[in-house]
Symmetry: C2
């Protein structure tokens, strides 16, 4: 099965927004084993959309469109696609009723347009916005229309389009995946370690991905039931975890900080942060996780030496002898924040994030991370490239700190 | 002039990365007055790339490609495009020499491939990576090839492709723009205020943009020289600033935090942060700016009530009588961090970022921001929607806090 994604929206062609829907949908299709050969973006122009559809029909078995389902005069996707496939639009009374319930007094005649749908289509009910999506089969092609805003498109793909597509490409079977998350191992090193296993697999299959500063392996199986699919997947997940060891920080989790927050809450532990080069980023990432207040007490951003001494009690001699960017300072910062807050774990960062501030002895990318817990004092110096951007160095530093905490929790 | 962007890369079709180059280039073309009618993404497949080029030739005057210029066997953009336009590739000795100099001992025979270029092209020298770009005119079409990685594509567009395009569409004139940045005014309110002026303009023109939680107006002029272009632009920028007033936070600046950091340094002032609901985000955003250590002393992330009392000296009575999310607590936090750090300005946030933790009295999105400076005590309550995401509420809170600081600096 070959698929083409068509995004409709002049705002994409003006560069006002990026076509992130295409990435999200492509990932989902790759998981289903559907080949995507083209992404196309076209403006809110019926003539050009029609031409683009003619081309897509000639080269794809599945066309998925995003955008142009809204209530304004610009929104012409449904009208144009229906016409291109010789279909009429009808007013779907159930969808109109939903719109009235959702919008109440804000409902205008324009809004009713959103309930007009191509005849004989499958309605894809939109629980995340006003415009319903739809799907139909015509002229040898499956056509699926989804709304454009990512906050609607993402769940509409996952909960509406994906089940429709799964039926198409599995003869009633299901496709399920698990995602193994890895921190602290490069992509090529990971591929080397897994090559033998990955090449020997048929169902499930395993595919590696590189993310910023992290890696991921997707294990995907096709089976008669969800239970059976996971029955095929889970032993392979186990094998991969065994091969890779402790660099695997989770399966089917969102981020390292999520694992840290859940791990702390599970074990009834609390944490606090002492940040220099990350400047608040560790606190920000921990508190990105809803419910983090159950384990995160707070922290100090001690950008100046004075703050390191005054708030965290770092000794003036340590700063003088070893400098602010040193293992010794990192350790005293971690101890200091733990003492101040009474948290079970204190974690600290100090380093040179660049682009300025580097020296021969301590080039940009020199970072120390300290961890203090009951009977535990640890400092690590992650390997960071001096040529990395300030943003990358700060993000990797926070990542390394979270990984250190994760490993500490495992030992508790 | 009609332009089509073609991105070449299977990793885009697999959803491993997003086509951010297309957004960046589209913005630049919009500034030059060049219409973009299509974005196309195709894999590293010469047959399909050739088909895509045939279609693009038939509907565009300018084709800009990104990706596929690298040293590996997958990288076939130059070969395929040259063939599609009946051109041969030649070894460019100057570029080969540059490659040797840049890569030194890491140079392999494969890498030499990158110096092969279509005959009679204009070489676009790449100072940001190894693969040179190129441009040529053939069969009624201008073709420009740029490398794919955004860290190379962005400067290659700005400093290489843009001047080439400017010549095409201005008969030797130049096109210049200024960007007016706005915080605290909605997009439609801004458009209402500027409609009369914008409609009356011809050269320069003005175009509004909505960014996440902010707005922007681009003023663009065409003229015989850069000086003349800015001579046309600057009075209109002045008019827009007068119409919009103090919601304009800067012209040709990157972000609100950049303006705050520069403003503080200019006036010799220092700042510190006391964060509850933003959890470190204010510190993170301030320290995103290189050189921020000249004005940012540090801060406290006081997620728990105990930390608010212990580190910032918020009174237990205030917390008991008004709650942690209150104007009174915000004020005491700002005063407390200023006292602790000795900074000229203390800024604080406390609120309900959601999704949990809201109540009838204090729903999700209830946020207070406090500012303390010499003789100044201020609290504001930004208007945030309870339906916004946790991320949005936290970002807007930090933005509102920075805007409050910016206004305070102006008065100093």
């Amino acid at each position: 099965m070959k698929c083409e994604l068509i995004a409709v929206g002049t705002e994409l062609l003006l560069g006002e927004i990026s076509n992130t829907d295409a990435q999200m949908i492509s990932q989902g299709l790759s998981e289903l084993g559907i080949n995507v050969y083209h992404h196309t973006v076209v403006g809110d122009n019926p003539e050009r959309l029609k031409e683009v559809l003619t081309i897509a029909k000639s080269r794809a078995d599945i066309i998925i469109t995003t955008g142009g389902l809204g209530p304004t005069a610009d929104d012409l996707t449904k009208e144009t696609i229906a016409a291109a496939f010789g279909k009429k639009l009808y007013m779907d009374k159930e969808q109109r009723e939903r719109l009235h319930q959702r919008m109440g007094a804000r409902m205008t005649p324009n809004n009713e347009k959103q309930a007009m749908l191509p005849e004989n289509c499958e309605v894809l009910v939109n629980d995340w916005g006003t415009a319903p999506g739809c799907a139909f089969y015509a002229e040898g092609c499956h056509v699926i229309m989804l709304p454009g805003p990512p906050s609607e498109c993402t769940p509409m793909f996952k909960y509406r389009a994906r089940p429709y597509l799964e039926k198409l490409c599995t003869d009633g079977q299901v496709i399920r995946s698990r995602f193994i998350k890895i921190f602290g191992l490069g992509e090529s090193a990971m591929e080397d370690k897994l090559a033998f296993l990955m090449n020997s697999l048929e169902n499930p299959t395993a595919a590696p991905y590189a993310k910023e500063g992290e890696c991921e392996v997707r294990v995907t199986a096709k089976a008669d039931s969800e239970e059976e699919a996971y029955g095929l997947i889970d032993p392979v997940v186990g094998q991969i975890k065994e091969i890779l060891g402790s660099v695997v920080y989770g399966v089917d989790v969102t981020s390292l900080e999520e694992v840290v927050v859940k791990g702390l809450i599970d074990k009834g532990l609390t944490i606090s942060t002492a940040e220099s080069c990350t400047g608040g980023l560790m606190g920000k990432r921990l508190t990105d996780i809803p419910g983090s207040s159950a384990c995160y007490i707070g922290g100090a951003v001690t950008y100046s030496n004075e703050m390191k001494m005054k708030v965290l009690g770092v000794s003036p001699k340590t700063l003088e002898n070893f400098g602010a960017v040193s293992a010794e300072t990192a350790m005293e910062m971690a101890r200091g924040i733990r003492k101040l807050t009474g948290a079970d774990i204190g974690i600290s960062t100090t380093g040179v994030a660049g682009p300025g501030g580097g020296s021969d002895e301590k080039p940009v990318g020199t970072v120390y991370i300290g961890l203090s817990a009951d009977g535990v004092d640890k400092v690590i110096k992650p390997e960071l490239r001096p040529t990395s951007s300030r943003q990358r160095i700060r993000n990797s530093s926070a990542g390394s700190a979270f990984d250190l905490v994760r490993r500490e929790i495992l030992e508790k």
